[in-house]
Structure formats: C-alpha cells, structure tokens
Amino acid sequence: MTDEVLPTSDDLDNIAEQVWSAFLADGHEAVVDGAEPVDLDADLAASVAIVGAFDGHVVVTSSRDGSREVASALFEMSADELSADEVGDALGELANVLGGNVKSMLPAPSTMSLPRIASAAHGHWPGTVELCRTVVAWRGNQFILILLSSRQQDRLERVVA
C-alpha cells in the first residue's frame, strides 16, 4: 500500500470556501459544512473526470434554482434573463474550478476533462466509490461537492472497511 494522501472533506471545505468567496461573493454568506443535513432535490449535476495517477470524478450537484443563482452571480444578470445553456455553463465552470483545485491535491500526474453537465437523474458514475463530500449552503440553496474514485485500490478498501 502506498502512503499517498488523498483529500478529505476538510480539504473540500477549504476549496469550496475559497471558490465561493472569490467568484460568488455577493454579500450572501456561503456556509460550508459537510455535517449539514442534506435537504436537496438535485436537478443538475456537473462533473469533471480525472484520468491518470488518479482516476475519478469531481461532481457538483444542485437544484435548478441553485444553478440559476450561480449563473446569475457569475454573469451578473438577473435569474430570469438566463438561458438554460448559460445556467448549465455556469454550473460547469463551477465544477471546473472546484475540480481543478481538488485535482491539485490528488496524486499526479493526471489530466482533467472539460466539464459535463447532466440532469441529476441521468448523472451516474458506475464503478466508483465516494471518497469524501461537503455541502455548501448559499442563498437558500444547497450544493453538494463530491469526490469519486474509480481506482481498484480505493474500491477494495471500501469493501474491506
């Protein structure tokens, strides 16, 4: 067994806090807390795939409203002016920035895919295990940030534990 260090949910908290305070600081506080009870009807899931020394995905799920809020803040437009495309694009960029930061804490070298957006019902990642997650509460919406691994060694460990 190698003694590689993988990100924990504390690391996800750290990353989420920085991303929200940089890109989504609009006076509404973002509360990042993995222990918060999840009350999310996820409509959308944006993800990036990581391939190489680490294989897995970084996923952000949110409700349609939540994604609209993100798009509204990023584009500096009111929610009703936004097209479905723009909403998806904004959530995708969020996954891109969160994913990029998570990737920098994963075993290297690896590459990251462009973000993929799907409805939450169709978003699944077969053959993966969840390594850690956190929840961001912002503007009355919840966003779940998840790190998935498709590596043999992580899946086996989960089974044994």
Binding site: P7, N14, Q18, G27, E29, S104
Partner: protein
C-alpha cells in the same frame, strides 16, 4: 451607508480602550470600509446592527467587540504592497548599505508584519538583490500573537498567493502544501518572528539598517507616534532607513528623519549625526 456621529464615537472609544489607538474624525470612511464586510460576515444587516450587538449587555457582545477591534487593526495583505518601497530597497537602499559596509549581514525589521507578506516580500527582494555570500537577517514583529503564529507558519492559500506575487517568485520561493502554498525554508530560515507592542519600550536589539513601519502609525495618537519614532530611531544605524506607508510622513513629528524622495513616494533616513537634545539657551 454612513456612520452617525454617535456610532463613530462608540467605535473610537472602543478602539482607544481596547487597543490604545486613536481614530481621529475624518477616518469615518476607514471604519465603514472595515465594518461593512464584517457586518456581512457575521450575519448583520447593517453596521448599525453590528454596533448595537457590540453595545448590548449580553455575552455575544464581547466577541463582536473583539472582532470590530481586529478588523480595524489588521493591515491589508498583499505581497510587495504598493511596490515602490520594495523597488526603493533594491534601487536606493541596498546599494548604499553594500557600498558602505562590504561584509556584515543586512538587518531589516518589519515592525507591523501582520500575516507575513511584508517580511517574506523583503526576503525575496534581498535574496534577488544581494550578491552571493552576503547574508541578511529579518526581524518580523506584530502586536498580535495570532498574527505572529500565522506568519511564522508561512502558509498561504490560493487567494492570498494571487495578491501581487509575481508567478516567477511563486515558483521560485514557494512549494505546494496540500491546497495551500508554503514559503521555502531558504527564506524562512532568515526571518525571526516575535510578538511586540510598539507603544511599549523596546526589548534590547542589535541595530537595523532598515525598518519597515508601514500603515501602523496611522492608528496612534501624535504623542505615541513621537515615542514610537524615537524608539525606532534608537535602533536604527546612523543613516539607517525608515519605510512608511504610502500616505504617511515623519514631517512635523520627528525632525531626526530626513525625507528622501524616491519615484512617486519617499523614504526616510535617520540622520547620521547623533542629535543632542536642544537645551535651553541662557544668555551669556
């Protein structure tokens, strides 16, 4: 959003009591710019609400007052802040020091080092500008033990590292530490971090070539300013240099410093002669 006279008065009193710092009228903008984000962060709808909580008799008020004082006494945290003082180091100050004394270590004191960007920026500048084999020592002090611990760790997150640090310096002087960046040992070894209260007499110190005292005098009364400058003059070598903040000056406060214009700003030089206090002149 404007601060009322009563609100400003309350904040001034608080700052004087808790931090021996005087806020003169005219500094309302400063208070507003620091308290507005604090009010947001702590979930208050306005500065007024924040101050109401601070003045209330309940237990939460103590923590709020502490945070108000902190928000008014921390310095802005960017690397090579204002840029010119660091350029002045390379262009004016170091050539003079190196010319005068070819061997002894260059000693610099960062006297309000906050979260550490200033002393590490000075170290980067020295590492680049000093000839090989020429040593340097930096003393970094701050009133707050928390800040001293923070800056001693030399660990910064992505947002902090993006503030004014050239990418070339980032890759040369930092390494990744988890999601953060850590200052290399090469620089950290040269800096001593200590807690120190400028408004108190100084501990014994070896003389310095340069003192950075940036954006901290602003918070003290004129008398305390005089005392601090006098103490600093005593630990500066004759002809040693004092760096103040962009809008600050010793003019009118301490005649023992000579103002030397540099680019769009100025640095201050302790006069080479040791000035004797002027005695009363009696007719002979």
């Amino acid at each position: 959003m404007e601060l009322t006279g009563q609100q400003f008065g309350y904040v001034s009193d608080l700052l004087r009591r808790e931090a021996a710092i005087v806020l003169s009228p005219g500094k309302e903008y400063l208070v507003e710019s620091r308290l507005r984000p604090l009010a947001r962060q702590t979930g208050h709808a306005s500065i007024g609400e924040l101050l109401n909580v601070a003045q209330s008799p309940n237990g939460a008020a103590v923590a709020v007052r502490k945070r108000i004082v902190e928000s008014l006494t921390i310095n802005e945290t960017s690397w090579f802040r204002d840029r010119e003082p660091f350029a002045a180091l390379t262009d004016v100050v170091l050539p003079q020091i190196l010319g005068e004394s070819p061997t002894r270590p260059v000693r610099i004191w960062s006297a309000a080092s906050s979260s550490g960007q200033e002393p590490y920026s000075i170290a980067i500048q020295l590492d680049k500008a000093l000839p090989p084999g020429r040593d340097y020592q930096i003393l970094a002090t701050d009133l707050s033990t928390e800040m001293v611990a923070r800056s001693s760790a030399g660990r910064y997150n992505q947002l902090e590292i993006n503030r004014g640090l050239p990418a070339g310096d980032l890759v040369k002087y930092f390494q990744r530490a988890g999601a953060d960046w850590q200052v290399s040992d090469k620089l950290r070894r040269k800096i001593t971090f200590q807690q120190l209260n400028l408004s108190q007499p100084l501990p014994a110190m070896q003389p310095f070539d340069v003192v950075f005292l940036r954006n901290v005098l602003i918070y003290f009364s004129p008398e305390t300013k005089r005392q601090i400058l006098a103490r600093i003059r005593k630990v500066l070598r004759p002809g040693g240099w004092l760096q103040l903040g962009a809008a600050e000056t010793t003019v009118g406060i301490d005649a023992a410093f000579e103002r030397v214009p540099v680019g769009r700003t100025a640095i201050y030089r302790a006069s080479s002669a040791n000035l004797l206090p002027v005695k009363e002149v009696t007719a002979c």
